[in-house]
């Protein structure tokens, strides 16, 4: 503190190197750059999809062609040349030696390096993993264990082949391709993702997790996740993402759809750590994601997200509370730094009676970043006694960043009760002095204060994810004491 001013320290602290920036040297099956009907057909063919699926993709593609890139977000998005993107990249499988070794060792090492061992020891952690590298699912663990309970957990490509009835019924039912520009693009070119089905009355015995990794250069990643929780079931789902450090921008446009049937409950947690670009704002992932869940009667959906990566984030995990007494929750920590931009928030659509929703959004802006919360709470005429509580907090670190909030409330029912609270704060000199006087360095003090600020949201994450998230925020670990 004596020879470094606070700004420098904050800069150092928030300027930590990206740890997941390595690339895996692995033979990759790439298709030509560019997008056309032929490319859409080629992707479908590569995946060995049935004709009905190819048609679905083409329908979405044709619709996408009629759309303009959206401009409403509080983001400065450089023009994206969609013909300059590779839409399919798959790690080439090496010769298989036997069932024990079905995963390429190089791939295995990649995921080990990322802290995602694909081995059976994950049993100890109680997590089943679907690992997606570039365009394809590499391996899904614990399928057999889950199968005993009737749970389907596999890549979406497999689900299309093996469970067409479920895919036909649910894919696109929550996020139709006509929803928005990137939803249409995704519906046309999605290459893989995870599928999960929890049968009636089943409580999934372990956390399910998908780990996304972009590896190949110049490729887009368009994954599609579909989770169906049938009546009275429960599942907790985790999603993690990283990408190598590259100078050019990479495009990521995912769609996550969640169907929460009557009396079911889904918890969906994300730690998003795509490569954010360097300190000058060069490179980084463009993250344009549509996430939405539909809750039927007494259904419950909880989104928790920790967003620290990506050059640009455009993401609004939402809940359509269709059935009576359905509950939607959104807990978010979004941290931006250097030249990152985030426009993130949620939509809570109250349709059923006595539906309830809760929004807790914590934005942290550092460097020269811009961080926006955008939210919609809509109460339809039939949603008697709907309840919403929203809290949007912003924390500014340094004096060159921006925090913005765009909360929209559209209430069409007189019996609804809606609350909104918002605060903007910065780490005060008095707080830092107090911590320093107790022997903490300024780095630790900032980490501690940020951690405390985000605590309410971090506490919602499953244990092992919470730890990762805290490290990501460059935080001093909140101890187990007290």
């Amino acid at each position: 503190m004596a020879d470094k001013n606070e700004k420098e320290i904050l800069h150092d602290l928030t300027g930590e190197e990206y740890k997941y920036g390595f690339t895996t040297d692995i033979e990759t099956d790439l298709i030509e750059k560019g997008l056309s009907e032929a490319v859409v057909r080629l992707i479908s063919e590569k995946k060995g999809e049935p004709e009905w699926m190819t048609e679905k993709r083409l329908e979405a593609y044709r619709y996408w062609l009629t759309l303009e890139h959206p401009t409403w977000a509080h983001l400065e998005i450089p023009e994206i040349d969609f013909q300059d993107v590779i839409y399919y990249a798959a790690p080439k499988p090496k010769k298989q030696l036997g069932s024990m070794d079905e995963v390429d060792p190089e791939l295995k090492r990649t995921f080990d390096k990322l802290g995602i061992p694909l081995e059976e020891q994950m049993a100890l952690a109680g997590v089943a993993v679907d690992a997606v590298m570039d365009s394809v699912s590499v391996k899904t663990t614990f399928r057999e264990t889950l199968k005993e309970k009737g749970i389907i957990f596999c890549s979406i490509s497999e689900a299309i082949k093996e469970h067409p009835e479920l895919i036909k019924k649910y894919l696109g039912s929550v996020v139709p391709y006509k929803d928005n520009f990137y939803a249409a693009l995704n519906a046309a070119v999605f290459s893989d993702g995870s599928f999960c089905y929890i049968p009636k009355g089943v409580r999934c015995p372990m956390e399910l997790s998908t780990y996304f990794r972009i590896n190949a250069a110049g490729t887009g990643q368009f994954e599609r996740t579909l989770i169906v929780a049938d009546e009275g079931s429960y599942v907790s789902y985790l999603e993690g993402c990283t990408a190598p450090q590259r100078d050019e921008n990479q495009l990521h446009a995912a769609v996550v759809e969640i169907v929460v049937e009557k009396d079911a409950e889904v918890k969906y947690s994300t730690v998003q750590n795509w490569y954010p670009g360097d300190k000058e704002g060069k490179g980084g992932v463009y993250n344009f994601v549509t996430k939405r869940g539909l809750c039927r009667e007494n259904g419950r959906l909880s989104w928790t997200q920790v967003e620290t990566g990506s050059a640009i984030t455009w993401k609004y995990p939402s809940c359509v509370l269709l059935g009576d007494n359905a509950v939607g929750e959104f807990y978010s920590v979004a941290m931006t730094n250097n030249f990152q931009q985030a426009d993130t928030g949620t939509k809570m659509i109250h349709i059923g009676k006595n539906t309830r929703s809760r929004i807790v959004s914590k934005g942290i802006s550092a460097g020269q970043s811009q961080n926006a919360y955008r939210g919609l709470v809509r109460v339809n005429p039939g949603a008697d006694n709907a309840r919403n509580y929203s809290q949007c907090d912003s924390l500014l670190i340094g004096d060159r960043c921006g925090a913005h909030t765009f909360p929209v409330v559209d209430c069409r029912n007189r019996t609804a009760i809606l609350e909104h609270e918002a605060t903007t704060s910065k780490i005060s000199d008095d707080q830092l002095f107090y911590c320093n006087q107790r022997g903490l360095t300024t780095e630790d003090a900032v980490g501690l204060i940020v951690n405390g600020y985000a605590r309410e949201v971090l506490a919602k994450l499953p244990m092992e994810f919470a730890v990762e998230a805290q490290k990501l925020l460059a935080l001093q670990l909140e101890g187990s004491v007290g």
């Binding site: 503190m1 707080q431 107090y434 107790r438 903490l440 501690l448 204060i449 605590r455 909140e478």
Partner: protein, 250 residues
Amino acid sequence: MLKVKNLHASVEGKEILRGINFEVKPGEVHAIMGPNGSGKSTLASVLAGNEKFTVTEGEVEFEGKNLLDLSIEDRARMGLFLGFQYPVEIPGVTMANFMKIAVNEQRKFRGEEPLTAAEYLKMMREKAQIVELDTKLTSRAVNEGFSGGEKKKNEIFQMAMLDPKLAILDETDSGLDIDALRIVATGVTKLHTAENATVVITHYQRLLDYIVPDYVHVLYKGRIIYTGDRTLALKLEKEGYDWLINDSNE
């Protein structure tokens, strides 16, 4: 232990401390009194290293080292403790966790192993008793929603945890009811040993009924204008500062 020589300090170009001299030895208790705006809190802040203030002249030696060269956290780790007049809130960070980090930082500085969770919990329970602090408070966020009395007790609790060589207590008695004052003051007395020293900044002599000072300094316009023993505090209580101030203005 602490030698302050001709200390001058200013904030935003305005000189607040204008040549402070005093010395604290192990086992001593010093009281610093004086009218509002005389520079008492500034003195405490400057000794702790608050960067709001600029030291323009003078020397401070603490435990044989040049205090003014040290960072705030190193001063703290060496055993300089400041009891804040207005303790700061840190939302979402539990008191227990905050102190755990502080205690272990100090141990690391001394080359000691960090405490285990069990050792730490035991220590926390013992120290909380000294100021009759409800241990439930330690699982709440630092100072958040604490009453005025709880905040001050919490400062002394932290002092107990960190076991400083030199504790500077900045108006620890302000805003306390009679019972809380007794508890806080008795706590400070219990922590006093022949090896450590305490500097209390106060407006009221009643605190000094519990914490008996060896020296009472009167600070006025950034200088110590008079030093006496504890009877000085009693005289000030009765007569105010006028007789000293008139003297010093001459």
